[in-house]
Amino acid sequence: MSTTMNRAGLTRDAYKGAPTTLCAGCGHNSITNHLVKALFELGIEPSRLAKMSGIGCSSKTPAYFVEQAHGFNGVHGRMPSLTTGAALADRQLIMLGVSGDGDTASIGLGQYMHMIRRNVDCTYIVEDNGTYGLTKGQFSATADVGSVQKRGSVNEFQPIDPCMVALTLGASFVARSFSGDGKQLVPLLKAALAHRGTAILDVISPCVTFNDHEGSTKSYAYVKDHDTIIQDVTFIPYFEEITVDYEPGTTREVEMHDGSRLILKKLDDDHDPSDRVGAMRLIEENRERGILVTGLLHMNESMSDFATREGLGASPLRDLGESELRPSRSEFDTFMATFG
């Protein structure tokens, strides 16, 4: 047990939850561990965190981290609407949604798109394995054309890519990662949590039981072989100083609204994450070559989040009482007189 404390005065253990009930080796468990690390290192206070989810293996995971936080495991594909309502009721909450590919790209596609369109302030993680685990191995809508199911059938339908959908809708934060790459995923999770607006993080997360075989395009082996990392991401929270010197011309630095910074070290490509159309081109051109690009695809820090657009103040709506919510007796009487 580590005794190192973060800025909230908590050890890493405070960010753990109930033991997982998912299969040993499930990509989702790795994501949970990376989330624990990210939340701990950011020093998020458990009481401010709201863990939201829908239905499916992925949606069970909020029970496996930050036990002290409130969590809400709702109905299938409807996590975005629950999150939207809660985010309006209390703007001080840090909304963290965990969903899967069935929950997001099939039954919940409408709510997913409308939440992005509204730019609700939340982090939305898609634990994406291309298959329905709990119902034993049916294809999901993110399965690639030609991907082979465990029982042998081949997917012939075009995949719905949560990142492409988000980019089309002008999402303010879109990233993709791999559950097996904590080095990339942890800073992306931190950036997503720091972002104000909807942060979409599609994490390829292999299903060891139903979709980790030869012929699957979402197996550990396939993703490791076809993953091209577009940049090295370093997240520096607003409460920390930059301590490393970067060679000029090798990095992009992006400042976030809360003062946190992202240092993006250029690799083969020099993708500019403010270029939304460029992000779409990058994904599609690589997909055609059989390559899965991961990293920060797009970020727009200048877009207002939903509660701001709704004109809400910083203090939670739910704390307002009679004196703030009811007109005075005389205002009320004056108003009554307008009904002839």
């Binding site: 495991n73 939670p316 009679e322 009811r326």
Partner: protein, 600 residues
């Protein structure tokens, strides 16, 4: 024969989209300003422009607010497409004001005809081309005013009330009314029918005209609603639209300009209820409003809120039909569905407003009950109540604060030391909850629609599952005594009537009709589900009890048969009305006289 005073129906048959509604309302407000009770029913199509629409303006000395039926005493015929049928509908001896270009070859001989060249008058007398179409309708108001001797001052008042915020509109509208009045005086002066109006100074003083959706929206403001999510659907849209308008007036911080409410137009009804539940979970008073098809989509989320015990208020402004049905007609057809909305063992609290004042009051009660019982509360309005204007005394300013129910805050948590989200501490079935954001290590718990124990932990244990369902039953039983109680009006009869919602207005009138035939009936008006003990008592003390409602299947009749002790079930009878139009009094009195074998 002496003319009948202040008891008639004026029907304006027009084309949807022609702007007739403001003329209809000017006439309504003009008559109302004379101290004469009015009860308008707007029959409109599901259409933007072109289909027929009727406005039935009932004038009733008794103040009856129910629908009288389709036989007007005065017909204003401005729709060639329905002219023949409209003409057939007029009561013998009635007046027909019509566009003179219409053919009267087959005209009846038992009516008074008043042909008016509306189009010609409009072309020659109304200067503004842009307003001509709309103002043409005001000409009919002038003709009716001539026929019924409505004084000019009342017409002026009607115009001023209707266009309260637009004084610029007063003179043009009055000019158009004058065109009609002048035409009357030149061509029909002195002609009368067997009905007339007589001012009743003071009779309607202090009363207002307001619709149920506006009233419910105001109730939401006073009830402390801070998050509302909705999807447009007739006939509920004007509820949230009114809420938006009232929020601009009452919910903007005067200094910062910040809003104290969020009203969100959702992508569908699933999301609308989802947002409301998310907000309720986070501690806001939240609501959605919808009608039948939307309620169908909300079934899944209603079950989630019931089982996870989250407060939320759902307004159902009911319309006719399964499926799309008749979107612009009324019904009480969602009662059975709403009562058990969602799969599995589910039971909900339903409030049943009958008047605009109850729309206002019950909106507030609904938020209190939702918080108190941590459950969805349905307010079952209907199109007739929600979209028609009703006379009402001004609404009362609430004297009570909000009842936020059993919420443990940081200090309470510190005091109790341990708690369980679904633990029945008080024996009333109602557990305690904490709100997200509560700064205490014990505050957090995991809300889940799957099986859970009293500490909100996942559980598939048989005894724990059944025990939790039993606690939910206990909570429901506690609510029985706390939802709005029925109102009983006894006359010492052995025959009873049970009704709810807008059926009430037809019952009031039907009881007078029955009394005139020598049949007194006692009356219990239900105001909520589940039913309270007084309903059992009412049925116990009557030999026969007729349950009157506006649906085909006798939905409340069925619920009562389930709720009553078996020995009493045989006393219930069912009277149903389900043609999409508000139930008229004789749809109750006629079958009752027959069933009770009273010689007519």
């Amino acid at each position: 024969m002496e003319p009948t005073v202040n008891d008639l129906t004026i029907t304006a048959a027009t084309v949807n989209g022609s702007g007739s509604q403001s003329a209809n309302l000017v006439l309504t407000r003009a008559i109302f300003s004379l101290g004469i009770p009015v009860a308008p029913k707007n029959v409109f199509p599901s259409n933007i422009e072109g289909l027929p629409t009727w406005y039935h303006l009932r004038v009733s000395q008794h103040g009856y607010q129910g629908r009288r039926g389709e036989n007007p005493d005065v017909l204003v015929a401005l729709n060639p497409a329905t002219w023949a049928a409209d003409l057939r509908s007029v009561r013998p001896g009635g007046a027909v004001i019509y566009e003179e270009a219409y053919s009267t070859l087959d005209a009846r001989t038992d009516l008074e005809f008043f042909p008016v060249p509306f189009s010609k008058l409009a072309k020659t007398r109304i200067q503004s081309e842009t307003l001509r179409k709309q103002l043409t309708n005001l000409i009919y108001v002038g003709i009716v005013a001539g026929l019924l001797e409505i004084p000019l001052s009342a017409l002026e008042q009607g115009i001023q009330r209707q266009f309260q915020s637009k004084p610029k509109a007063w003179p043009v509208n009055l000019d158009a009314v004058q065109v009609g009045l002048e035409y009357w005086n030149e061509h029909f002066a002195g002609r009368k029918i067997d009905h007339r109006l007589e001012p009743n100074p003071g009779r309607t003083d202090g009363l207002m005209l307001v619709d149920g959706n506006q009233s419910a929206a105001l109730g939401c403001v006073m009830g402390g609603c801070t998050v509302a999510a909705w999807y447009p659907i007739t006939p509920s849209s004007s509820l949230c639209e009114s809420l938006i308008s009232y929020s601009e007036r009452f919910r903007v911080d005067p200094e910062s300009g910040e809003k104290r409410i969020a009203v969100v137009q959702a992508e569908d009804e699933l999301a609308a209820l989802g947002m409301a539940i998310g907000a309720g979970w986070a501690g806001a008073r939240s609501m959605t409003s919808t009608s039948g098809p939307g309620l169908s989509l909300m079934a899944e989320f209603a079950g989630l809120a019931y089982y996870t015990e989250i407060p939320v208020v759902i307004f159902d402004v009911q319309r006719a039909g399964p499926s799309t049905g008749l979107p612009t007609r009324t019904a009480q057809g969602d009662i059975g569905f709403a009562f058990t909305l969602s799969h599995g063992d589910t039971r909900h609290l339903l409030l049943l407003p009958a008047t605009v004042a109850e729309c206002y009051e019950m909106a507030q009660t609904a938020f209190d009950l939702a918080d108190r019982f941590q459950t969805p509360v349905f307010v079952m309005s209907d199109l007739d109540l929600g979209m028609n204007l009703w006379m009402s005394s001004p609404f009362a300013y609430p004297e009570q604060g909000f009842d936020r129910g059993k919420v443990l805050d940081r200090d309470e948590l510190e005091r109790v030391g341990q708690w369980g989200r679904y633990r029945d501490v008080d024996g009333d079935g109602i557990p305690f909850r904490t709100l997200p954001g509560t700064d205490h290590p014990l505050a957090g718990y995991f809300t889940r629609g799957s099986g859970h124990d009293e500490n909100a932990r996942y559980s598939e244990n048989a005894a724990i599952y059944a025990g939790n369902l039993d606690r939910l039953t206990r909570k429901f039983e506690t609510a029985r005594a706390e939802v709005p109680a029925p109102i009983v009006d006894p006359e010492g009869s052995s025959v009873g009537l049970i009704a709810y919602g807008t059926t009430h207005h037809a019952v009031v009138e039907a009881r007078d009709l029955l009394r005139a035939k020598g049949l007194a009936v006692d009356y219990l008006r239900l105001r909520a589900l589940p039913v309270s003990a007084s309903v059992v008592e009412f049925v116990e003390t009557h030999e026969r009890v007729y349950v009157v409602e506006q649906n085909r299947d006798g939905q409340m009749y069925d619920i009562l048969r389930l709720e009553l002790p078996p020995a009493l079930v045989g006393r219930l009878r069912s009277i149903r009305h389900y043609d999409g139009q508000p139930i008229p009094a004789d749809a109750i009195s006629r079958p009752l006289l027959e069933l009770e074998a009273v010689p007519v």
